[in-house]
């Protein structure tokens, strides 16, 4: 393996632990291939020899038909058994390999912070990663095994022919080897560029499509949809052009393979005839030699296609490698140095830059005494969610620091940090498991009664009663089992169930009508008594019950104070924001 295959090395290493099973797969594959060659070439010889023997009654009588006919039957059996055994072992091996690959990949990704992952393009990246693993699992079953078997089969064919005519055997083996190398090599070389371009055009096209679908209302209203549609279709056509190039390449390698096969078999038959005439080679072996070549070529026929895919596998491995190497994961100490004295949060001169040139947080300072309920307001993009990401250590501040109970946040172990905060993010993820398991993430020990009563308090009671198996039901895959507002509330339930002393809720009532909003806010207050609450919101409902209000703008604090004090100040932003219609 040269340096260009270096990215595949971690995956080849994974194969070592299953070497025996994977080796057995190769061996059984070889048995099947060898039996196929043996069956057809022995049959060919048997026919020639018996036809020759059958010319006179005496030779016909003395001809030992027992051995060849037993051999033919033997190969028929080993071919069938070998094929079955090979299928079972290679699949078993692939699955085992897959399990290890997934685990090792997950362990690579796990230390990365979600914000780092999102910078790659979030869910698209995750789909890619999953596809990449699937692409890699073909390495053993489609590339390594057939290549090894082909090599051994070529040697075998050379030996079988060579026993009777060493020169022909040698020449045949060399010709087969050349065919076995040329096809895959050309396919890999020529296929690299179109295959890479296909991938690029495919990704670009998908992004383009998703963006246009998101902007569909505008595009339709402004009568631009048909123009965008044509651009998109022509983009897809360009991609398909590459697919056509790849198919043509595969077609050309089939032609090349057949040409080489034709030349080899013709050469071998002609040479065998020559040897039979002038060098006393038994003429009944001519059929054996020809049919050996014919069957042997089957072992190399599919190699070019597999090697054409090798580029794809390498790119998949390289992408996984890239993730491993680009970002330095955020480090947590194994154990906490000094335990925090309480749950007071001190944010001091915190600055964070996510996009070069734009400070998302700009020297922000804010103190939350233990047990205080604070609502954080501000226009979208003012840095509220980034502040949450800093508190959960998903982003590394450029300068400034955060202290929890008088202890620097960075000195807390991951376990201690997570135990001190319960967070409901804007994007609530429902796992493909029962609703009960989904809630248990927040409180592993809680019982059904706690779950049900909290869901009811949050106004999800009627939703729950519609679920066929209650808490045992699973969410729908497309994500249609809960509406946006219901999903947010489910996330709130998870956070409220956790016993953590600090509760952080990011826009928990977005997408709710006023009535449900009041109900949710009341539940939040009830369950955060005695706990610190950081509530990020765009809504004004029930904010007078908060201890403090803070308003952010462009990464820093615009104003902060008690609701009544801010309300009383007619020049405050809070006062302006309250100026809306009541109905």
């Amino acid at each position: 393996m040269n340096h260009r295959h270096a990215s595949l090395r971690p995956y080849l290493r994974q194969m070592k632990s299953h070497a025996l099973l994977l080796g057995l797969g190769v061996l059984l594959n070889l048995v099947a291939v060898a039996s196929t060659i043996g069956l057809i070439s022995l049959s060919g010889w048997f026919l020639s020899a018996s036809a020759l023997a059958g010319v006179t009654a005496a030779t016909a009588h003395s001809f030992n038909f027992f051995l060849p006919s037993a051999g033919v039957r033997f190969f028929a059996i080993t071919r069938t058994a070998g094929r079955y055994g090979e299928r079972i072992t290679t699949h078993e091996g692939t699955f085992r390999l897959l399990s290890r690959l997934r685990r090792s990949l997950f362990n690579t990704i796990e230390p990365l912070s979600p914000t780092q992952l999102q910078r790659y393009g979030s869910s698209d990246l995750l789909t890619r990663l999953s596809n990449d693993i699937d692409a890699l699992d073909g390495l053993y079953i489609r590339v390594i095994t057939p290549s090894l078997v082909a090599l051994l089969a070529i040697i075998g064919c050379g030996v079988v022919i060579g026993i009777f005519a060493p020169a022909i055997g040698m020449a045949a083996a060399i010709a087969m080897l050349a065919s076995g190398l040329a096809g895959p090599w050309i396919a890999m070389k020529k296929g690299a560029t179109p295959s890479r371009e296909w991938q690029r055009l495919d990704t670009e096209g998908r992004v383009y499509l998703l963006e246009r679908l998101a902007g569909l209302p505008e595009l339709l209203l402004y009568g631009q949809w048909s123009r965008e549609r044509e651009t998109l279709l022509s983009h897809a056509r360009q991609r398909d052009q590459r697919e056509m190039t790849l198919a043509r390449l595969w077609g050309a390698s089939q032609l090349l393979n057949q040409c080489l096969l034709g030349l080899t078999i013709t050469g071998v038959l002609a040479a065998a005839a020559w040897y039979a005439r002038y060098h006393e080679l038994d003429p009944t072996l001519i059929a054996l030699m020809g049919l050996t070549i014919l069957a042997g070529f089957e072992a190399i026929a599919l190699l070019p296609r597999a090697w054409q895919e090798l580029g794809k596998m390498r790119r998949a491995a390289a992408r996984i490698d890239e993730i491993r190497h680009t970002a330095d994961p955020i480090h947590f100490p194994e154990t906490t140095g000094t335990q925090p004295v309480d749950s007071r949060l001190d944010i001091n001169e915190l600055s964070i830059t996510l996009t070069p040139g734009i400070r998302t947080l700009n020297a922000l300072s804010l103190t939350l005494e233990a047990g205080v309920h604070l609502a954080l307001l501000g226009p979208s993009g003012s840095g509220k969610t980034t502040l949450v990401n800093a508190l959960t250590r998903f982003v590394i501040p450029e300068s400034g620091h955060i202290r929890l109970g008088n202890v620097a946040l960075e000195t807390l172990s991951e376990k201690d940090l997570r135990n001190s905060m319960a967070v409901a993010p804007q994007d609530v993820h429902l796992f493909m498991t029962s609703y009960r398991e989904n809630l248990r993430i927040g409180a592993p020990a809680a019982d059904d009664h706690t779950f049900i009563s909290l869901l009811e308090e949050l106004g999800l009671g009627s939703w729950l009663s519609e679920q066929p198996e209650g808490l045992d039901s699973w969410p729908d895959e497309g994500g249609s089992s809960l509406s946006g507002g219901q999903l947010r509330r489910f996330g709130v339930a998870r956070a409220l169930l956790s016993p953590a002393p600090i509760v952080i809720l990011d826009e928990p009532t977005e997408g709710l009508d006023v009535e449900s909003e009041r109900q949710v806010m009341a539940t939040i207050y009830r369950h955060t008594q005695g706990r610190t609450l950081l509530l990020i919101t765009h809504r004004m409902t029930g904010l007078d019950q908060m201890d403090r209000i803070a308003i952010m703008q462009a990464g820093s604090l615009l104003e902060e104070g008690t609701p009544s004090a801010l309300m009383a100040d007619t020049s405050s932003r809070f006062h302006t924001l309250q100026g809306r219609v009541v109905l």
Partner: protein, 588 residues
Amino acid sequence: MPERPTARQWLSRNARRASFWPLISVAAGGASTLLLFLLAWAIAGIVQKMVLDDADLSTLTPYLVALPLAFVGRGALSWLKTEAGTRTGILVRQSIRRELLEHLGERGSLWARRQHSATLGNRVWDQVDALQGYYADFRPQILLSGLVPLMILCVVFPLNWAAGLILLLTGPLIPMNMAMVGMGAKQRQEEQFQEMTRMSRHFLDTLRGLTTLKLFGQSRQQGQIIYRVSENFRRKTMRVLRLAFLSSTVLEFFSSVSIALMAIYIGFTYLGQFHFGDWGHGLDLFTGLFILILAPEFYQPLRDLGAHYHAKAEAEAAAEDLIPILEARATPPEANMPSARWQVPNSLGLVLDNIHARYDGQTRYAIEGLTLTLAPGDCLAVVGPSGAGKSTLLNVLTGALSPAQGTLSTSDGEDVARMYPGDWQAALGWVGQSTSLLSASLADNLRLANVDASDQTLEAALNEVGLLEWANSLPQGLSTRLGEQGQPVSGGQARRIALARAFVRQAPLILLDEPTASLDQDSERHVMAALSRLKASHTLIILTHRLDLLQLADQVLVLDNGHMRALDTPNNLAGTPGFGPDTHGGTA
């Protein structure tokens, strides 16, 4: 509406989209079998000449010339078959994708919004691609797996009926064998397909939920869980596979046994042990070898079919997803197409007469009995709590939702429902709550509203919303690329770009949905200023919660639960109880 076709019917119906290309694949496969006869003839001929006839080497010439040619021909035909198959798949996919996208435009934004945009994208892109293997490989192979064995039988039977019988019996009649492969492969592929999907889904699910797991301190142990789930799936899948592989093994077995039987039968006939099957005219080495070479090829198409079976399972799964979108086509609106096109006037007023509107599948009206008149150049503000019908009104006005009852017409009496599609929309400008910026240049993003707008128009519009200075400061000015991998744009700037589109649009009626919600102060100031300038020359309809926006309005429409609760000037309304600054609800 006609009944929806099954996935299978739909798949075979769509094969037509590739015109003659599928036939070429099949023809290439058939022609390749003819060349197979030629190469078998050549090999068998050489052996016959050398072993029995003791002929001169020069008599081999025709065989030695034909043999490589047969292989080259077969190679060329494989190429043709691959190319024709791929082209078939591509043509079908391109045509289906076009229809899907056209259909999206016809169903409208309301329908599209109800589909998750990622799901919709997945259907248009990936699910359509999943059809490739079915059209490129599987479908031609079905025909070939009937055609090729039949061709071989037709050649073998006249030569030797016993050999023909061996082929016929060991492949217990092709249709039966096909059904068997079908059933076995179907079960195998489907179960494996399902298990594999389930496993990768768990993996993907864990990756997507990584943030949640981290927040609750449960991400570290997931690696081991993934391994366990994966191993569990392996055990389950292998149990299925061990049985399912038997079906292809049976085919393998028949093919091996038939070659063995054939060899033994022919060999024993030569040795004088058997005396049947040759129609009485004997069996020479040439014929025996010729038949033997054909024997493995008799089964090959069936084995290939089994290998392509997953393509069929994939395509059927994709078809299930695509059929509901493609087959539920709305009745084409051409029925009562007006003859004359409507010209967009310079200023536009509206008359709503007893409008009732509801969404597909709902029984309740979202708007009920709305009647109002809006004079050209007037500004109407629409207020009301969530669910009062504000968005529905907007959908009716943009033409995304047709009123179930009542009429929407212009102040000079043109019924909007009777206009040529697109004519009405040409009179509208729209500023939504969330602005979709496209990954394109700033100019292209503005020209979305009017393709023909000059650079001067664009600059004037940017000036109206206070963005001209910003635009001039960009590295490439108007041609600067926005969005992903381009110039980052803040939420406030995005909203102002959307507002600038309304100026570029030069349409008489502008619809605005919460134009000042969640904006920073600077953007808010610019938006307010731009709105008062827009008001001078346009008819405006503004959905809002904000009192300061109401001051722009000539009339305020108060909606509640789909009904009109009040329609009056803001000053008159200010006196009514309950209408005033809110301390309980609303959006900042």
